[in-house]
Symmetry: C2
Subunit: 502 residues, 2 copies
């Protein structure tokens, strides 16, 4: 190993260990920690966060990085080491571009903003959040200026998009969302009319929570969640986290009057978890040992949840078990009825409750608004109105108040602009992978045989094992011969929904 | 605040936060972490441990300490700050006395020794562990030499005893164990004869695990475990840990064919937990914000488990609930029978399974052996034989193999010599507190009324809230007017067992 890299690595190892501690504290707070523990514990978390930053951001690391980027040093590095140097440089640039004072102010603002947002949401009143959102936007705009690079960026919004999905910009996403607008919006209108009378009352009967818990464990294991390398717990909202490929953790949330919610959440989180569990052993403890991007991660969770989990082939061998578990509620519901029910689209107001078909419209709306914001085409005070107009235009619905409108998501309060598009990118990548798998394996047969392993192995070899060694487009190109192409997504939704409700 | 103390405090805060992370990792590994996670995760733990040590042990901290110990600086310090400086100095001396190279060698030896011990125990063969134990003893003897101070120590073993129970030495413990030998050994023989036919078959019937879990939560809460500031989970062996006074965690272990085990374990751990939960807010996040010593901690857990938990007054208002919960198994067992059963003494081989009466004999044996070791009166190769002889002498039983003899405890494999006596000190302190409470409050009436709060409040005001601001003898003196006095312990056991089985 290069002596210089070895020196850098000793900092990175410390950073990884501190980050693992932070992840564990957060997991624990969300799943188990006693109600009154958070004040003291967040002092510990604050101190460890500071140590994490000072371990990675300091003069010695900076000098080591510079040295390692020189040609003669690069020759001595393995591919993994090169990727690590590149990744550390990227994080450096993001953090170092911002003056420390402004960074701290922004961190404090974010902490404050979350609680302002929460209160405003409880009152359903955007006005109470507006000045804070305006401040957040101004900071982000300033930070964009620090990092805007004419060689890489055409649009200020590109800077933010690239943070969450490296390689994606406004040009590409405009094309993507235009296709959604032109081809999907009219299609969705049509399907919504056809399906409005689909009866899914069965889903809202009473379902025993312990039986749901047991079913969740079964489904997680069935799709490939390895309980020797993972934990399933409960929290207010389902999420995935983890320390390394042998410790990946998911949560679920169970409602006694909504069966689908628990079923598809656990399959979704298991998709995230299988990605992390299949990252190669030789990188899992390094800075490139995680899924490559939010979009690619979301592609895996949505592939498991929607492409696999809401398909007929998946449920064929399983549905009788579901019926046996909840005999009273499901004995008269055929598999066909269940599939029509769990895929039923509805023009709703809330993104997180949206079905697979209308989901991209929720993202389209956020994308258009964020693009306007960072191109100075709108001011904070007009955002609630614009939000409501767009929901009327694309989904034909109007929020009763801002809690089910512009205040529904936490992302902006956390300073995260440019994050939402990765959800839609993820769905589109999942569709692109689906059509590729149809070509290279007997995909539906595997599902009907319950042979999820064959599918997982393929995803491991072509996506998961690489961690952050390849970005989304590199992965897609190497696997399918083609970079990101949203046409598959449109095709997938049209084919699936036409067939389901013909 | 003194500027110098403020500087020291910034190191201590970091140290506390890193230590909290280590505690959380250990808790998580014992209760939840996936089976295959430990290899990678222990790398993180190792790195954070190193950071913990380098945060506290370094030239700058050393200089700050020296400065703070000077008279003019001391004047500026509060009582809490003085106690913190004293505590940090103590830890410094322990660690700094040992050359770093030997410290590292010893740490590695301990890690190795634990697995050697485990294998030897599985085979029941002391010979396989003997050379490793000999090495551990040699290191400890060397370390004793580095720290032996003629002004403070009369016996080499004193150095080790003082680590676990500050202020206690061979002179005091000889007197303590002599009383046990002279007064208790014959008494125990007598009681064992009287009680050998006490029937407790009811305890080994089948008890539903979920009902035991629910009962455990109830009992923990009943004795004062505050679930808003604590967590109850499960692990192989029950233990208590915590991050601060608003996050204290206990575990229990349930056996389907042993009701007592789960009941008295949860009361025992709740005793530890109540101590930690009642430490004062202004010290909980500092270096003196924990129970003052192992012995004092054990006094609280044993006070709750044995003095309170195995008494008639405690069960009077509760026993009907226990009978209702396990009606089939307990309907014919009167409260009197239950109390005779759960206090029944038995001359056994295993310390952790011992009853309240014979327990001190297990400690007496270990104390005598440790004292011989560190006074060069015995060699490792003779220890198993000596062990067996002493069990024959004091308890009249002989191990079938070394697994139920000298290999039963993990302590020596972890390099912990001088630890065992604190268990007996704890029992004796519990008895001393008991007779004091009888004087200052209607103790039995409180128990019969289920008014545990009054008892807890008193313990808080006189013991718990101080954390490490006072040592065991200071606490006893201030509370009862008398330092540690083992006569109460002998009296307590004699009175209790005479009355129970008259």
């Amino acid at each position: 190993m290069s002596k210089t890299f070895e020196k850098l690595d000793s900092y990175l190892e410390k950073g990884k260990a501190l980050n693992a501690a932070l992840i564990l504290f957060e997991w624990d707070l969300a799943t188990l920690a006693p109600e009154k523990s958070d004040k003291n514990t967040s002092d510990f978390i604050g101190i460890i966060s500071d140590q994490y930053f000072s371990t990675l951001i300091n003069d010695e690391v900076r000098q080591l990085l510079e040295k390692l980027e020189q040609e003669e040093e690069q020759k001595e590095l393995s591919e993994i080491e090169k990727a690590i140097v590149k990744e550390v440089r990227k994080r450096y640039e993001e953090l170092e571009s911002i003056p420390q004072k402004e960074y701290r102010e922004f961190s404090e603002l974010k902490a404050r903003a979350t609680s302002v947002w929460e209160k405003a949401k409880n009152k359903g009143d955007y006005k109470a959040f507006e000045p804070t959102l305006e401040e957040l936007i101004q900071y982000r705009k300033k930070f964009i200026q620090y990092r805007f690079d004419e060689k890489k960026h055409k649009n200020p919004y590109d800077v933010l998009l690239g943070d969450f999905e490296p390689g994606f910009d406004v040009e590409q996403l405009d094309e993507f969302f235009n296709q959604i607008k032109e081809e999907l919006v009219p299609f969705i209108q049509e399907i919504l009319k056809k399906t409005k009378d689909v009866d899914k009352a069965y889903n809202f009967k009473e379902y025993n929570l312990d039986k749901q818990r047991e079913l969740s464990r079964f489904l997680a294991e069935y799709v490939g969640f390895d309980f020797e390398k993972g934990v399933l717990a409960e929290s207010a909202h389902p999420f995935t986290t983890g320390l390394h490929n042998h410790d990946v953790r998911i949560t679920n949330h169970y409602f006694k009057d909504n069966l689908e919610s628990g079923i598809f959440s656990v399959i979704h989180e298991s998709g995230h978890a299988v990605y992390e569990m299949q990252i190669s052993d030789d990188i899992t403890m390094t800075m490139v040992g995680e899924g490559t991007s939010l979009g690619m991660h979301e592609s895996q969770s949505r592939f498991f949840e929607n492409v696999i989990g809401r398909s007929e082939a998946f449920w064929k061998p399983l549905y009788h078990k579901l019926q046996d578990t909840f005999n009273e509620q499901l004995k008269d519901i055929s598999l066909e009825k269940f599939l029509k029910g769990c895929n039923k689209p509805e023009a709703g107001l809330i993104r997180t409750e949206a079905d697979e078909l209308t989901y991209p419209l929720h993202i389209l709306i956020r994308y258009e608004i964020e693009k306007m914001i960072f191109n100075d085409e709108v001011e904070a005070r007009d955002l609630a109105e614009i939000w409501n107009e767009k929901y009327k235009e694309y989904l034909g619905v109007t929020p009763k108040n801002d809690a089910e409108g512009i205040l529904q998501d936490i992302h902006w309060a956390g300073g995260d602009f440019g994050y939402f598009p990765s959800y839609a990118i993820g769905s589109a990548v999942a569709a692109q992978i689906y059509y590729h798998l149809l070509k290279v394996m007997p995909f539906e047969e595997y599902l009907e045989q319950g042979n999820l392993k064959a599918i997982r192995e393929y995803l491991k070899e072509h996506i998961h094992k690489y961690g952050m060694m390849k970005n989304t487009n590199e992965i897609l190109k190497d696997m399918t011969g083609e970079e990101f192409n949203p046409a598959y997504y449109i095709r997938y939704l049209k084919e699936k929904y036409t067939k389901l409700y013909e």
